[in-house]
């Protein structure tokens, strides 16, 4: 349902992400992994419409969305939970949910509260007074209240206690179970790989690896190698385990030529 093809995106005309291709299917949870500065957040911003791509195509359910502003994409069912959460601190929790739900606000609110029951006790408190974990729940809840087709979550675990992360990550599975596609960026690689179906690894703005969570989980060295940009080592590992972890679009790193 989300198809990102050959995406180039960046700031002030300077490409940060080059030639990235990512797909997310209905009901699938996909992670975007990679070290700091790899371009994960940039990719998400382009998907959510916060950033105009410099090249490539993005489509949701077959309709091209690249370059559309964020509020149009939100109405078409793309919901981003940004890194800074962007909750409305002066509004109460309930108001935060209600402002995001158009139409049958009450039903949808109840749906979200069933998924995140912790929010019930703070419905009438100002969102700015919630704890970090509650705020993150609210951010996810607010994204879900519009019943998105695609949920995009950036660094959900940032600044949260491990116990909260362990509570929140599985929620994404529940969301996907209803047919929503989920795309996450996550620094807690091991926790993420417990939850997601597939993962892409980005380094220096390029896709270096793609694989099912199972494969990536089973081969620690592969992931570590790709994280540190050592593609030759990664490919050796892949070759020795039989099969190709490299996605067809993932070009080798800039300073080196293609491998023989």
């Amino acid at each position: 349902m989300l198809e990102v093809t050959d995406l180039t995106a960046g700031y002030n005309g300077l490409a940060v992400v080059r030639g990235v291709t990512v797909t997310v299917g209905r009901g699938e949870v996909v992670a975007l992994l990679g070290p700091n500065g790899a371009g994960k957040t940039t990719t998400l911003k382009a998907v959510a419409g916060l950033l105009k791509p410099l090249g490539g195509t993005i489509s949701v359910d077959g309709a091209a969305t690249a370059g559309r502003p964020a509020h149009v994409l939100a109405r078409r069912g793309v919901a981003l939970v940004p890194e800074d959460r962007a909750i409305f601190a002066d509004l109460t929790t309930r108001e935060n949910l209600r402002v995001a739900a158009s139409g049958k606000a009450k039903d949808r609110e109840a749906e979200v509260l069933d998924l995140l029951p912790e929010l019930r006790k703070c419905l009438n408190r100002k969102a700015g007074l919630l704890s970090g974990g509650e705020q993150q729940m609210l951010a996810v809840g607010r994204a879900l209240v519009g019943r998105p087709k695609l949920l995009v979550v950036d660094e959900m675990s940032l600044g949260l206690a491990p116990v909260v992360v362990q509570r929140l990550l599985p929620v994404l599975r529940d969301v996907a179970a209803r047919g929503t596609g989920v795309l996450v960026v996550e620094q807690h690689v091991h926790l993420a790989l417990e939850v997601v179906d597939r993962a892409y690894v980005l380094t220096h703005g390029r896709l270096v690896m793609e694989g099912t969570a199972e494969r990536l989980r089973s081969d620690e060295g592969l992931l570590a190698a790709s994280y540190f940009g050592d593609q030759r080592a990664a490919e050796r590992l892949v070759a020795s385990s039989g099969g190709s972890a490299e996605s067809p679009e993932a070009a080798p790193l800039e300073p080196r030529g293609p491998l023989p």
Partner: protein
């Protein structure tokens, strides 16, 4: 007692209008973070439309040169249809202004928005003056009014109806914002625009809708005030000042507080009128206008909590700063060029050039305060005026050799500057702008309008400056303007410019800019923020005071009209639009934008814009603000800008080895925005290099 009650009830009239205008201002601010100084101008224009529909049945259109009157009825039309047409008209006018001026500026720095709205205000007022003249129109009642009695006091019932309208409007807005999705969306979008966009709210659409509602409020206020106050362009435009006061009490957020404050303000002014009639020792003028602003000022300073947090311009939104490269060489070049211009120009052009220089001096005080330290002051002309009047009353001291009286007069502005600096220790950003406007209004009403101080309408005369028997004055017999006076002004202004430039590159200058970027971070590295802010206010008011002395000598007679509340607004606007972060900006403001300056005089002489001057100025201001959000000077200082070429020329005439300078060749003006751009670009480069290094 009955009289007190009567004046209380009468005060409901003005108070109700302040409240309605204030509600519109709050709506606009909450939705767009614009403090719309042109809000009452829309009300003023709507009032004219309404009055003309009622009396002649002609519809007044907001332009000049083209026919501006359309007859839609053969005679005056009834209240209700006229009311309906005017409401639609005012709403449309507000909508068009929003599309043309405010929408392109939605993401601009707060001060850019203020400047654009000042431009709109000047433009609308000027159109009204041209189309309708300045004579006051008295008009009939709008609301049904019968005399009613409360406790043996008879008064017109329309005041109670007005009160009802205000209460209903405040409650309706309160409910709209608290309970509807539209209201929630507006609050959400004001707080976090990205967050709002991510849940499908279009910030622009929300802003537009709120603006349209606020414009309808403006039109309604304009109509409702016509029976209470006789209609003329200037006094209606000035209604924005008490309305801002009311909005300020409501912290630009609360509808009930704003409505309450507006009504209280109206009642207070009405009661003061009564007091003045009954108590012989009360000052005749200014109390009603002045005291409320003093109260607002004190209340804001004492109780400022979180106001200004949102309006606080972030680091990235500060206007770009210049870095003077070779202040001494530049000053010498400017001095020589200035002398040539002074000698070359004759008559009124020479006088205009001198006016330009004085405006440059005023703008330099703002470059220091608003540009370097980020403290907005809408009271700058109060310093100028105060010093000018003090100079006129120095008596025997005025006979001392030239710089002494001028410097003494300028020094008297310093305590005033420190006083205005005090609220700045607690209030920031746009709120500070409004607080300083309150100061300007209070000064205007209590000091400048006080005939004992300012000499009333006639103003006060100032003797020529002398230097050990040499007359340095601007006029000597029929000789006007004299070159010698021009030279005096030029030398003073160049010295001030040199001083400000040196300050920018000194360690003190770095501290000031650090405060502008982030007060807290500055405090963490050991800067005494409060002391440095007060220092900046003191120095800035001294420079403004110096300009006041020069202005007094220049004009010979000073009167309070030169320092009215809105002159400060205009000065800040032209300084900002010309480029408030740079010395060159002050020079451009003086030469190009000052209404009595050189460029405008040239235009007037060649194109005979004369009566259209204020319209041109207003429109130019609004559009320059939209086009050059960093200021004209910053645009010129860009990669291929004019400033670089001028600097190169200067270096050829006065090579670096002669007069030294901070920057060695090759010369490149660096603005703060350049610095941030490089900073953003560098990590990417570094990563690439690292990658290369790891893979030989």
């Amino acid at each position: 007692m009955n009289l007190v009650l009567l004046f209380l009830l009468l005060g409901l009239g003005a108070g109700g209008v302040y409240a309605l205008l204030g509600l519109g201002l709050v709506l606009k601010y909450r939705a767009t973070q614009v403090i719309d100084f042109a809000h009452a101008s829309v009300a003023m224009f709507s009032a004219y439309v309404f009055v003309n529909l009622r009396s002649t049945g002609r519809l007044e259109l907001p332009w000049i040169l083209l026919p501006h009157e359309i007859p839609i009825a053969s005679a005056g039309i009834d209240v209700l249809p006229a009311l309906a047409i005017t409401l639609v008209y005012g709403t449309l006018l507000g909508y068009v202004l929003f599309l043309v001026v405010y929408r392109p500026l939605l993401r601009a720095a707060p001060l850019t928005k203020v400047c654009a709205s000042v431009g709109v205000m000047l433009g609308l007022e000027a159109i009204a003056v041209l189309n309708f003249g300045t004579t006051s129109l008295a008009t009939g009642p709008v609301l049904p009014s019968v005399p009613i009695r409360i406790a043996s006091v008879a008064f017109p019932s329309d005041r109670l109806v007005l009160l009802g309208i205000v209460v209903a409007a405040a409650l309706a807005l309160l409910a709209l914002y608290r309970f509807t999705r539209f209201g929630l969306a507006t609050r959400a979008s004001a707080e976090n625009e990205t967050g709002a966009a991510l849940i499908g709210i279009s910030p622009t659409a929300i802003a537009t809708r709120n603006w349209v509602i606020a414009s309808a409020f403006a039109a309604l206020s304009g109509i409702l005030i016509t029976p209470i106050s006789s209609l003329d362009p200037t006094s209606y435009t000035l209604f924005v000042v008490p309305a801002l006061g009311a909005a300020l009490v409501g912290r630009f957020a609360s509808f009930p507080w704003t409505a309450g404050a507006g009504i209280a303000l109206g009642i207070f002014q009405s009661e003061v009128t009564l007091l003045q009639a009954q108590v012989p020792w009360m000052p005749r003028q200014g109390l009603g206008d002045g005291v409320p602003f003093l109260l607002i000022l004190i209340a804001m300073t004492v109780s400022a909590r979180r106001l200004g947090v949102r309006g606080d311009p972030g680091t990235m939104r500060n206007p770009s700063l210049g870095r003077p490269t070779r202040p001494l060489a530049t000053s010498i070049v400017c001095l020589v060029l200035g002398l040539i211009v002074l000698v070359a120009l004759q008559g009124s052009f020479r006088a205009a050039f001198i006016s330009s220089l004085i405006t440059t001096c005023i703008c330099l005080s703002l470059v220091l305060l608003t540009g370097f330290v980020g403290q907005v002051s809408l009271a700058q002309m109060s310093f100028v005026g105060f010093s000018a009047f003090v100079l006129s009353q120095l008596g025997a001291i005025a006979g001392l050799p030239f710089p002494i009286p001028a410097l003494l007069a300028a020094l008297t502005a310093v305590p005033l500057g420190v006083l205005i600096g005090l609220p700045a220790l607690r209030v920031r950003g746009v709120s500070l702008a409004v607080v300083t406007l309150a100061v300007a209004a209070a000064m205007d009403a209590l000091v400048f309008s006080n005939a004992a101080f300012s000499g009333g309408l006639g103003g006060r005369t100032i003797g020529s400056p002398t230097f050990f028997g040499i007359d340095l004055g601007i006029a000597q017999g029929h000789d006007y303007p004299r070159v010698i006076f021009g030279v005096v002004v030029l030398v003073v202004v160049v010295l001030v410019g040199y001083g400000v430039a040196r300050l920018r590159t000194s360690s003190t200058g770095r501290v000031l800019v650090a405060i502008r970027s982030n007060e807290r971070a500055a405090a963490f590295v050991g800067v005494d923020v409060a002391r440095m802010k007060l220092f900046a206010f003191a120095l800035s008011s001294f420079i403004a005071g110096l300009a006041g002395s020069l202005l007094a000598y220049d004009q010979g007679t000073v009167s309070s009209a030169s320092f009215a509340t809105f002159t400060s607004l205009t000065v800040l606007a032209i300084a900002y639009v010309a480029g408030i972060g740079r010395i060159a900006g002050a020079v451009i403001a003086g030469l190009m934008f000052a209404s009595d300056g050189l460029f405008v005089s040239f235009l007037d002489a060649w194109l005979h814009i004369g009566q259209y001057q204020q319209i041109v100025a207003g429109v130019a201001l609004a559009f320059t603000a939209i086009q050059n959000q960093n200021g004209v000077a910053a645009e010129l200082a860009g990669e291929k800008g004019l400033a670089l070429r001028i600097a190169r020329l200067r270096d050829r005439i006065l090579p670096v080895r002669w007069f030294g300078g901070a920057a060695p060749a090759p010369l490149r003006t660096r603005s703060t925005s350049d610095v941030t751009r490089t900073a953003a670009a560098e990590p990417a480069v570094a990563v690439k290099e690292e990658a290369g290094a790891r893979n030989p």
